[in-house]
């Protein structure tokens, strides 16, 4: 269980807070979607949920990050890393720069957790398999396509077997199949008890993946509830969020009496 309790945060060097009064809880095994227009504060909430803001980047924080009932505010980065991991928006930000192959890159996380060689190898292989990128194992991580880089970054997180995962637009550069595979991997991770927070523009991915969705507008969470309710909320477009395809199409066909899901089931 990971919670942000009444969190407001101001980046170092800025007078104004980027987010205000954020209350957000991720239960074990729960996938929570975070949506909102660009620059509403989604990435900031991701940094707060994994503790990197302020532990790594400074800034002013009020409120608390609480994991399994314990306040993690003010704890050093290495302690946080054992509890919660973050997948950055741009995979290049995350790449270690020290690994010569994709296999070594993915193995870095479990190795740094102090696991045995055998366990590290097993976890690395399993992470690559889950995203079907075994054939990239010997490639240079710095010379991958954008989407391949993103899959490697996610594999690196999976290999940590984290209890809490925060992902900032994990599928932005992925093709539809890569997006589907990431969705499957996240579902399997949640089924094993991991709590996930996923910031995404692709509401089609969140639809069916998340149990809950929170909407961020101008640095505040404006609604937080069951995914089926939030993703069908009529205010979504006004907030600058694209509704899922099936919702959009249902509305476009409203006058025709045709039910999209029913039509596809034929």
């Amino acid at each position: 269980m990971l919670e942000l309790r009444g969190v407001s945060y101001r980046y170092a060097g800025y007078a104004k807070a980027a987010v205000h009064d954020i209350d957000l809880a991720l239960g074990d095994g729960e996938i929570v979607g975070l949506i909102g227009p660009n620059e509403a504060g989604k990435s900031t909430i991701c940094l707060l949920a994994c503790g990197l803001a302020p532990a790594s980047i400074g800034g002013g924080l009020t409120g608390a990050l609480v994991i399994d009932g314990q306040s993690m505010t003010g704890r050093p980065v290495h302690e946080l890393a054992g509890q919660v991991v973050l997948g950055f928006q741009n995979p290049a930000t995350q790449r270690s720069g020290v690994a010569a192959t994709v296999f070594e890159e993915v193995a870095l996380g479990p190795m740094n957790l102090g696991l045995s060689v055998a366990a590290t190898l097993a976890r690395t292989r399993s992470a690559l398999e889950r995203l079907r990128i075994e054939d990239l194992a010997e490639r240079d991580p710095a010379r991958l396509s954008g989407g391949q880089g993103q899959l490697v970054a996610i594999a690196s997180l999976l290999a940590m077997n984290p209890r809490h995962v925060v992902l900032d637009e994990p599928t932005a550069q992925l093709d539809p199949e890569g997006t589907r595979l990431v969705g499957e991997a996240l579902r399997a991770l949640a089924a094993s008890g991991t709590a996930l927070l996923v910031a995404e523009h692709k509401t089609d991915l969140l639809d069916g993946l998340c149990g809950r969705v929170a909407v961020v507008v101008d640095g505040r969470i404006v609604v937080d509830g069951a995914a089926s309710t939030i993703l069908a909320d009529e205010r979504l477009e006004g907030w600058g969020v694209e509704p899922p395809s099936r919702i959009r199409l249902s509305r476009a066909l409203a006058g025709t009496g045709i039910d999209v899901v029913g039509a596809l089931a034929r």
């Binding site: 660009n38 290049a92 932005a172 093709d175 199949e177 890569g178 476009a252």
Partner: protein, 267 residues
């Protein structure tokens, strides 16, 4: 006119990214290139402005083989916006960033200022001209990278995944930019994974798989039911509107608007 013939590209470490691409794009066409990650899309477009050179095959623009032309010279003809804006942006102010290209083309003074202002306006960043690009969020940095290429007024514009990380308004903005370029008769080539954006924005869709072009046609053709099997072999799915249209037996309806129209016509 862009004419690509028998294009093969092998990266130094041995990856065969292109396996023989033949593609002709007429002036003024707007073309989307789709395909799996690693299918060769970005490698292909980087041959258009000489950033990559063919291992085999030729690239001709307006009848001339570009093999001997320098990147700096090609930059006046082909503007390429990278997938990752941080590979492109280097200036301390948004307006300086956008001015860099046209300044290198020899523009100065009021004409240069006008180009910069128009390009920033087109991407919705007129109010951010004096900001440091790195104070802008990722989505706005992407729009800034587009503006810096628009300011070059090249006859050919290439966009590599322009809608990545964009919200509803950002995607609408990109769609409007492509439409405006097409209306001016410029050639637009865009790589994208967003099939709905592709269907709604482009006249022609080129599908790549493992370094080759496997499908090439209008959105109605490429997303039509007869091509689904081939699309599936590249792990692509037609937009939802196309799938619903096919189930309802109203023909190929790649966009929501075409689906609604087909249903109204039928009833």
């Amino acid at each position: 006119m862009i004419e690509i013939a028998g294009l093969v590209h092998v990266y130094p470490e041995g990856t065969r990214a292109l396996e023989g691409v033949d593609l002709r794009v007429a002036s003024g066409e707007s073309v989307a290139i789709v395909g799996q990650n690693g299918s060769g899309k970005s490698t292909l477009v980087r041959h258009l402005n000489g950033l990559l050179r063919p291992t085999e095959g030729t690239v001709r623009i307006d009848g001339r083989d570009i093999a001997g032309q320098r990147v700096a010279r090609l930059a006046a003809t082909v503007g390429l916006v990278f997938q990752d804006p941080d590979r492109q942006i280097f200036a301390g102010k948004a307006r300086t960033e956008v001015a860099f290209g046209p300044r290198n083309l020899g523009l100065r003074g009021a004409e240069l200022d006008r180009r910069v202002a128009e390009a920033l306006e087109a991407v919705g960043l007129a109010g951010a001209a004096d900001e440091n690009p790195y104070d802008l969020g990722y989505s706005r940095r992407k729009l800034l990278a587009i503006a810096s290429v628009l300011a070059m007024r090249t006859p050919i514009v290439v966009l590599d995944e322009p809608t990545t990380g964009q919200d509803l308004r950002g995607v609408a903005r990109v769609r409007a930019i492509v439409a405006a370029l097409a209306a001016e008769g410029r050639t637009v080539i865009t790589i994208s994974h967003d099939m709905r954006f592709v269907a709604e924005t482009f006249d022609r869709v080129v599908v790549m798989r493992a370094g080759r072009v496997v499908l090439d046609g209008t959105p109605a053709v490429v997303f039509g039911e007869t091509c689904w099997e081939l699309l599936a072999s590249t792990y692509l799915e037609p937009p939802l509107a196309a799938r619903v249209g096919a189930r309802l037996g109203v023909g190929s309806t790649p966009t929501e608007a075409s689906l609604v129209e087909a249903l109204v016509t039928r009833s």
